[in-house]
């Protein structure tokens, strides 16, 4: 009789098992294997270290080059220009100087020539080359600000010319070097932070350009991109993960999204051009263009199309990573599907979704090609005030300046790159802050 609680174990295969042969761990072959293994580990660790050092070196090189070339763009040399207004014979109605037509009146009074003559009087024949071509604009602002200077002799700090700038920072032409030595002896040269670079827009004169217009354009464009791509991308991901039936159609959609993420960005530019700016004939009527050319709205929509697949893919992965037990728990106490998604799945997936969005937005911020096609490469001298105003963005501005022939733009291009990198860092910092906030809350 067998014990009911201890059933017999089936015998293993039958036959006898050979006695165990102890493994010799000290043979030469064994030692060699161990040596090889250690060598492989060391080799792999060294390769990894080399890779890290190389990328760090590239990054450092990039930052150092940009900083050394670009930081000068944030500063400008100013020359103290004395002007004896009564002697120049300028005739302006002072009462009209706070009127809208003041700019025209001063230009009509020959201010540009007066400033040129003053430069000759102060610095000799080379004088007009010492001050920027647009120095008279600074003088005009000074007169409008305080008309009483017209009554006597005034010293106005005007921007120096690009030649003088270069003679100070590196080596310039012999004439410029001589002029600098003379000016420095007279204490007529000052170095100041170039607020104009941060507050003005594009210009044909490198001493007058600013980044503000492009910065604002980038901000508006990113705003549109985020407002379209984030909600649409996340909702699409939720639908595909939580609601869509798994069949051939959803497989097709998935493949299409993956392919879209790999499409070159310029193709999206063509798409934006055709859809938002194209004209069609519908039922005999001409329709379109739907949206204005060169506007941040169109650029934003085009970039939204471009980064949406990235956000969808990242969001789907984040949603997939939420443990099914949480869904079960919520369903088990009678939460509806929508409640499960919005109360539990989405908050847990949010850090991952935000990471994907950061990557997408960073890509959109640095994108140039699609924006060229929707007309955002225009010369924009006034910062945009709305989404439909003509605008350009930072990378396009950098591209345009890097194409300029004037030497003064080299420095400005590097300075604009620094601004773009700072913008990017700020954007990522906000996103990472948000991500960490949601991570610690749960």
């Amino acid at each position: 009789m067998s014990d009911p609680l201890m059933p017999e174990l089936p015998s293993a295969g039958g036959g006898t098992i050979a006695p165990r042969q102890p493994t010799d761990w000290t043979t030469d072959a064994m030692r060699q294997r161990i040596r090889k293994r250690y060598a492989r580990e060391r080799r792999f660790r060294r390769l990894g270290l080399v890779a890290v050092v190389m990328s760090a070196a590239f990054l450092a090189f990039l930052l150092v080059t940009m900083a050394s070339q670009g930081l000068g763009g944030f500063f400008r040399t100013e020359v103290a220009l004395p002007i004896d207004f009564p002697q120049t014979g300028i005739e302006v109605d002072k009462a009209a100087l706070d009127q809208p037509g003041a700019d025209l009146a001063l230009a009509g009074a020959g201010l540009e020539n007066i400033v040129g003559s003053a430069a000759i009087a102060a610095f000799g024949d080379y004088g007009p080359n010492v001050i920027s071509d647009n120095a008279w604009l600074t003088v005009r602002e000074a007169i409008k600000h305080d008309p009483s200077i017209l009554d006597g002799r005034a010293v106005i700090h005007v921007p120096a010319s690009a030649e003088i700038d270069r003679a100070i920072s590196e080596t310039g032409t012999p004439e410029a070097e001589a002029a600098v030595t003379k000016l420095q002896a007279e204490n007529a040269i000052t170095e100041g932070f170039n607020w104009r670079f941060l507050s003005a827009s594009d210009s044909t004169d490198p001493t007058q350009v600013g980044i503000w217009g492009a910065l604002k354009g980038s901000f508006f464009t990113m705003l549109v991109t985020f407002l379209i791509a984030f909600p649409v991308g996340v909702l699409a991901a939720i639908y595909l993960e939580e609601y869509a039936p798994k069949n051939r159609w959803t497989d097709l959609v998935e493949v299409s999204i993956n392919n879209l993420a790999a499409v070159p960005s310029i193709i999206f530019g063509l798409l934006g051009l055709a859809v938002f700016l194209g004209t069609w004939t519908l039922f005999g009527h001409k329709v379109g263009p739907l949206l204005p050319r060169s506007a941040a709205l169109v650029g934003g929509l085009t970039l939204a199309l471009m980064i949406m697949p990235v956000i969808v893919i990242a969001s789907r992965n984040a949603i997939k990573a939420v443990p099914p037990s949480i869904r079960d728990a919520a369903l088990g106490i009678g939460a509806s599907k929508v409640q499960v998604v919005f109360h539990h799945v989405l908050p847990l997936a949010l850090p991952g979704i935000l990471t994907g969005t950061i990557i997408g937005m960073a890509r959109a911020l640095g994108e140039t090609a699609p924006l060229l096609l929707v007309g955002m490469r225009a010369f924009i001298a006034t910062p945009p005030d709305s989404l439909t105003d003509k605008a350009t963005v930072l990378p396009v501005q950098i591209f345009l300046w890097s194409d300029e022939v004037s030497r003064g733009f080299v420095e400005k291009t590097s300075a604009a790159i620094i601004v773009l990198l700072v913008f990017l860092l700020a954007m990522n910092a906000v996103a990472i802050y948000l991500r960490n906030k949601f991570e610690t809350r749960w």
Partner: protein
């Protein structure tokens, strides 16, 4: 041979037999239920009555379909696209698979506790309050406080957590987490509680606490528990159903099943011959 009357299992079952009341009203009834996962026929024509105020244990070897059947009782199988249920299951005489049945309300009436403790990554308070909140069971903050306290007390957890209700539910020990999940389930005032191997991830002390809790809850709910532990089935249940390969082999009063099984398969299983 195989005289079971001397085994400890049978003894345990007999000791708890006095609690069985054969005339209890039927809470849920299944009639000829079949479940398919795609091509797989997982449940093959199960008919069973779940009695009110009793604990019903589902036992059987792994993969026999007891968890699958449990999940048909509150339609959790709906979430699996390939699953298909045939036959009739009623709650208080109402067909839960009828088109007019609201699944959300059904799951509030038939609560569930899972194998692995799965508290939400929120505070202890929020874990318990979530169900009543989505079903609108509390009219005010003080109502909600009362529900949370009552539920935690019933789950035997109140004294341990009353000073740290704002702590995360996931920071507690496994046994506490599982009791929190039970508190969360009873907070929505269900009529039936389904437990899918609630102690399989817990140590013996935590298991004993959960079993004690099941005892105390018995009078107010119909409880169905899936378990691999024969001792546990004998200790906590008044009805036992033995599943094998998708069939309900034997169903009856627990003490009868463990002392005098009608089927040889049941006898073999509970004596440890396989499973």
């Amino acid at each position: 041979m195989n005289d079971l009357t001397d085994t400890t299992l049978a003894q345990t079952a007999r000791e708890h037999a006095d609690m069985a009341d054969s005339a209890a009203p039927v809470k849920m009834a299944a009639r000829d239920v079949h479940v398919y996962y795609g091509e797989t026929h997982a449940i093959k024509g199960v008919s069973i009555d779940i009695d009110m105020d009793h604990v019903t244990a589902f036992i059987g070897p792994s993969g026999c379909g007891k968890s699958t059947f449990l999940r048909t009782l509150n339609r959790m199988n709906d979430t699996i696209a390939a699953a298909r249920v045939e036959g009739q299951i009623t709650l208080d005489g109402e067909d839960i698979y009828a088109s007019g049945m609201d699944v959300v309300q059904l799951r509030a009436r038939v609560g569930m506790v899972f194998q692995k403790p799965n508290p939400f990554p929120k505070s202890i308070y929020e874990n318990v309050a979530y169900g009543p909140r989505i079903h609108g069971l509390a009219a005010s903050k003080s109502d909600m406080d009362a529900i949370v306290e009552r539920s935690l007390r019933r789950a035997g957890l109140w004294d341990e957590v009353k000073d740290r209700l704002t702590d995360s539910g996931t920071a507690m020990s496994g046994g506490q987490q599982q009791r929190l999940c039970i508190a969360r389930a009873i907070a929505v005032d269900p009529e039936v509680i389904l437990m899918d191997e609630p102690c399989s991830a817990l140590d013996p002390i935590a298991t004993a606490k959960i079993e004690e809790l099941i005892h105390e809850l018995r009078g107010n709910y119909a409880i169905v528990i899936v378990t691999h532990n024969m001792q546990q089935a004998a200790r906590v249940s008044q009805r036992t159903a033995f599943f094998h390969l998708g069939n309900l082999v034997e169903y009856g009063v627990t003490s009868d099943i463990f002392t005098n099984p009608r089927e040889d398969k049941t006898k073999d299983y509970i004596t440890g011959r396989y499973g």
